[in-house]
C-alpha cells in the first residue's frame, strides 16, 4: 500500500466516523465540532486529488466561515435547560432504511454499471495524464477569468451575484424589527 492509498484510507475513515458523529451526538455543539473535522478531512482528500486550490478554499470557507456561522447560530438559538440539544426524529428506522437503499443503489450503479466510464485507472496513471507543468491554482485562474480562451467567467460573475443576494437576504431576514 503506497502513501496515497494509506492517506486516503485514513482520511476516509476519519471522515465517515466524523460524519456519523455529526449525526449521532446528543449535544449539538459537539456535532458542530465534528462537522469541522469532516470539512478538514474533505480538504485532505482534495489534496490527494491534486486539487490544492479546492482544499485551501474548503478550509477557508467551510471551516473558517460556515462553521463559525453555525456556531453563532447555535449560540443565538439556545433553549435553556435542555440536555439533549440534538434529538432524533421518531421516524429514524424508516429513514435509515431509505438512506441505505439510496446509498446501495448509487454504489451498485456506480460499480457494476456497464455504462459507467471505465474506472480501472489508478491514481498513478491518472496523475500522469495531467500535463506536467500545470499549476493547479494558475489553471483554475485561467479557467475562471480568462477572457479569450475557454473560461467559466460568466458563471463566476453570476456566483458573485448570488453571494450579493445572499448577503442582502441574510441581513434582511435576520433583522430585528
Amino acid at each position: 500500500m503506497d502513501l496515497a492509498t494509506l492517506l486516503f484510507w485514513i482520511f476516509a475513515v476519519i471522515l465517515v466516523v466524523a460524519a456519523l458523529l455529526v449525526v449521532g451526538l446528543r449535544n449539538i455543539v459537539h456535532s458542530a465540532l465534528a462537522l469541522v473535522v469532516v470539512f478538514a478531512m474533505a480538504a485532505g482528500i482534495y489534496t490527494l486529488l491534486n486539487a490544492e486550490f479546492i482544499a485551501i478554499v474548503q478550509i477557508l470557507i467551510y471551516v473558517g466561515a460556515v462553521t463559525i456561522l453555525i456556531l453563532f447560530a447555535l449560540m443565538l438559538t439556545r433553549i435553556a435547560g435542555l440536555t439533549r440539544t440534538n434529538p432524533t426524529n421518531r421516524l429514524w428506522p424508516i429513514a435509515a432504511i431509505i438512506c441505505i437503499l439510496v446509498g446501495g443503489t448509487i454504489i451498485y450503479a456506480v460499480t457494476t454499471s456497464s455504462r459507467a466510464i471505465q474506472n480501472t485507472m489508478t491514481a498513478a496513471q491518472a496523475a500522469s495524464q495531467v500535463p506536467a507543468n500545470i499549476n493547479n491554482v494558475v489553471r483554475i485562474g485561467q479557467l475562471l477569468y480568462s477572457p479569450t480562451s475557454y473560461s467559466y467567467v460568466l458563471p463566476f460573475e453570476i456566483a458573485s451575484l448570488v453571494l450579493l443576494v445572499a448577503i442582502v437576504g441574510a441581513i434582511i431576514i435576520g433583522r430585528e424589527d
Binding site: A4, A12, V16, A19, V23, I28, L35, V38, F39, Y46, L49, N50, A51, F53, I54, V57, Q58, Y62, A65, V66, L69, I70, A73, L76, T77, I79, T85, N86, P87, N89, L91, W92, A95, I98, C99, V102, G103, I106, I107, T111, M121, T122, A123, A127, V130, I134, R139, Q142, L143, L144, S149, Y150, P155, V162, L163, V165, A166, A170, I173, E176
Partner: protein, 116 residues
C-alpha cells in the same frame, strides 16, 4: 491502487449519512449540518471525476481556439458548489434565527402550519 470507485463510494456513503441527518434531526441547524455533509460528498465526487477522467480537450468548436487546454471542470464545479453552499448557509441560518425569535423554538417538528 486508488481508483475512482473509492472516491465515488466514499461520496455515496457520505451522501447517505448527510441524508440521514437531514431527515431525522429535530434541530434545524442539525438539518443544515446534514445538508453541508451532503454537499461535501458531492464535491468529493466532482473532484474525483476531474482527476480520474481528465480531459485534455481538443476544441469541439469549428472556429476560434483549437485547443482548450486541460479542463478541470470538476474542480470548477466544486468551487461553485462551495460558493453557493456558503451563501445558502448564511441565508438559512438567518432564517433559523428569525424563526427562533418568533416561535422560541428551532424544532422543525414544531413548524407544521401547512398540515391538514
Amino acid at each position: 491502487m486508488l481508483t475512482l470507485n473509492h472516491f465515488l463510494i466514499l461520496g455515496a456513503v457520505l451522501f447517505c449519512i448527510g441524508l440521514y441527518g437531514a431527515i431525522t434531526k429535530h434541530n434545524a441547524i442539525a438539518v443544515l449540518m446534514g445538508i453541508e455533509i451532503m454537499l461535501n460528498a458531492v464535491n468529493i465526487t466532482m473532484v474525483g471525476f476531474s482527476f480520474f477522467n481528465h480531459v485534455n480537450a481538443p476544441s469541439q468548436f469549428g472556429f476560434g481556439v483549437t485547443n482548450l487546454g486541460t479542463l478541470l471542470t470538476g474542480q470548477i464545479f466544486a468551487i461553485f458548489i462551495i460558493t453557493v453552499a456558503a451563501a445558502e448557509a448564511a441565508v438559512a441560518l438567518a432564517m433559523v434565527i428569525a424563526i427562533y425569535r418568533k416561535r422560541d423554538t428551532v424544532d422543525v417538528g414544531e413548524i407544521d402550519m401547512m398540515k391538514w
